[in-house]
């Protein structure tokens, strides 16, 4: 389904032969990929493969030094995360930017609170914020008993999805998820994968960074494989199997041990 959608719409975000050097260090080179409406791009790679550099370029934290970055078909160089955010490119970092002791709805609107009234009598629209939080979370398939509970009481997967829902509500067209499943158990990781699918079905582009092929494969439409700062290729789901992907990522030497480990998992 999503392949057809992606080919009809222009990609929201596309990189062509993009690269980044920090002084004399080549952090990333020759990477091409794209993410369209209702599409999930999985970025896979082991530690040090260049995943972080890739996110930093997409999110506007660092400008690229080689190649092209296109948003809605227009070439751009982001000078700050704000510029990326204004184009609807939102990044959900691993620490999620939440305050554990504060209620879910206060976290949802933190920094962009709704208010009503004038001048010194301007106060929070508590009812409105509670209602919107509940609605937006319901759209993600999360039914919270109580949006007044501290966000710290939610499970890791739920917190992740609140952060995604928040990015979506505040205008994100593409959500970049930095290793959302890496700190989670199997079940919770499954929950997050479900929310990624949910976001995709609502027409968002998702860039899902992970080092786990088993998390990426079920939900991804395209797979960008990175190794030591270079691209091993950008594959459609039909072009690659999970075994091939694992093999590419792991490389020859460790393969037997890894295959053994995965077979038992």
């Amino acid at each position: 389904m999503t392949d057809a959608q992606a080919s009809a719409a222009p990609p929201i975000l596309e990189v062509r032969d993009i690269g980044k050097t920090y002084g004399s260090i080549l952090a990333l080179q020759g990477v091409s990929a794209s993410v369209g409406v209702g599409e999930v791009l999985c970025v896979l790679g082991d530690n040090g493969a260049g995943k972080s550099t890739f996110i930093k370029i997409l999110s506007g934290a660092h400008a690229h030094t080689h190649g092209k970055l296109l948003a809605y078909g227009v070439e751009r160089t982001f000078g700050s995360p704000r510029e990326a955010l204004d184009l609807g490119i939102a990044t959900v970092y691993q620490d999620l930017a939440v305050v554990p002791l504060m209620p879910v709805w206060r976290n949802f609107f933190l920094g962009s609170e709704l208010t009503r009234g004038f001048g010194p009598f301007r106060q929070l629209d508590v009812k409105g914020m509670r209602r919107i939080t509940k609605e937006e979370l319901a759209k993600m398939g999360i039914d919270l008993r109580d949006v007044d509970q501290p966000i710290g009481t939610l499970s890791g997967g739920e917190r992740q999805s609140v952060a995604i829902a928040r990015a979506v509500y505040f205008g994100a067209k593409v959500v970049i998820l930095d290793e959302p499943t890496s700190a989670l158990g199997v079940k919770q990781a499954g929950v997050v994968l479900k929310y990624i699918a949910q976001a995709r079905d609502r027409g968002l582009g998702v860039v899902f960074i992970t080092h786990n092929p088993h998390h990426a494969y079920p939900v991804g439409d395209r797979f960008l494989l990175l190794k030591r700062g270079t691209s091993l290729g950008d594959f459609k789901k039909s072009e690659i199997t999970i075994e091939e992907m694992t093999k590419l990522m792991a490389g020859g030497a460790e393969l037997d041990a890894l295959a053994h480990e995965l077979a038992r998992a």
Binding site: Y93, A97, V99, P100, L124, G141, D143, G152
Partner: protein, 346 residues
């Protein structure tokens, strides 16, 4: 392929009972303790519940309460201010000296004292935020500086360690209406500071729970990096909090000065920890991000009732300190228990 969105409810979350819901409010513990102490002294002493008795402990509680509420806001925002007590003396001395020694207009003197207090508060915030040093250390320094300056400067200018003759200053009675007057209510002689205390507690509660600034105070105290990431103006919030505490110090300084028309150079010294204790008894966490203005006001009420109750019961005054320590320990333990019950992982 379409993904349906079933409502996700986790069977491991058991519905919180009424008790837990109540215990989630930070001020509940203090309210229970305040009630118990009220009943105890009402039964065990004859003077406690008389109109004169009530007026006395309410007045006592009000002066601590105003400061405790301001300190609570600051603590929720994740900082301490140990200079808050000395500030009460500093502002009182400034007004006393410039009016009695130099003949400055009394209204102007009030403004000068407020401006100096706010500047010191802003300086505290600036140093804390720019250096990243703990506010405990920075304001400890401010505390000692103010304590020394209060005594030394007062001695240089007046030759003594107190200000006399305030009531002879022109305009004293007009200002006294705002800071030192009292009115009759239910047979009590109610001091104006009690009105200030209630008004400030109400205002602080409204700000904390119903305004953007309040949301930001909880956020900067709870998780400063997250707050920055979502665009909360961290510096402004902390600056505002330190200045609020300093401003509250000025208010209490004026309330004391115009009530008794004199001020000692040692006024306020040693009170800074009582404000913090009141805030903690009222449910503030020492680590920031959690607490309540009403709780802090109740903490001050507990302190005021005990302070005067011990006098009425004719016990040795030293029991107060022991009681205070016990109260603090109990409050911290209750807070810990509550946080575990509420299931807050942080």
């Amino acid at each position: 392929m379409t993904t349906t969105a079933p409502a996700v409810t986790d069977e491991r979350i058991k519905p919180a009972g009424l008790i837990i819901t109540l215990l989630r409010r930070p001020e509940v513990g203090a309210a229970v303790a305040a009630l118990a102490i009220f009943i105890f002294f009402s039964v065990s002493t004859t003077a406690f519940l008389t109109p004169a008795g009530v007026a006395t402990w309410l007045y006592s509680a009000s002066l601590f309460g105003i400061m405790a509420v301001a300190v609570a806001l600051l603590m929720i925002g994740g900082e301490f201010d140990l200079s808050a007590g000395a500030m009460v003396g500093t502002t009182g001395l400034i007004v006393g000296i410039v009016t009695t020694e130099w003949g400055v207009n009394i209204w102007l003197a009030l403004v000068i004292a407020l401006a100096i207090a706010l500047a010191i508060g802003a300086a505290n915030a600036f140093v804390v935020m720019k250096t990243g040093l703990p506010s405990f250390i920075v304001t400890l320094a401010t505390f000692f500086i103010l304590q020394g300056v209060n005594l030394a400067v007062t001695k240089i200018i007046t030759g003594t360690v107190s200000i006399q003759g305030m009531s002879a200053v022109p305009g004293f009675d007009a200002v006294k209406v705002f800071f030192g007057s009292s009115f009759a209510l239910f047979g009590m002689d109610v001091k104006i500071s009690i009105v200030w205390w209630i008004a400030i507690t109400a205002l602080a509660t409204w700000i904390l729970l119903r305004t953007r600034s309040g949301n930001w105070i909880f956020a900067v105290g709870g998780q400063i990096t997250s707050s920055r990431q979502v665009g909360v103006p961290v510096m402004k919030v902390k600056m505002g909090l330190f200045m609020t505490t300093a401003g509250a110090g000025w208010l209490v300084g004026m309330l004391q000065l115009f009530d008794v028309s004199t001020v000692q150079a040692t006024t306020g010294i040693g009170q800074e920890f009582i404000y913090i204790i009141c805030a903690v008894v009222g449910g503030c966490l020492l680590t920031g991000g959690y607490g309540s203005a009403i709780g802090a006001a109740l903490g001050a009420l507990i302190y005021g009732m005990t302070l005067q109750g011990i006098v009425f019961a004719q016990w040795d005054n030293n029991w107060l300190k022991a009681f205070l320590g016990g109260m603090l320990l109990l409050a911290v333990l209750v807070n810990l228990y509550v946080r575990r019950q509420a299931g807050v992982r942080s």
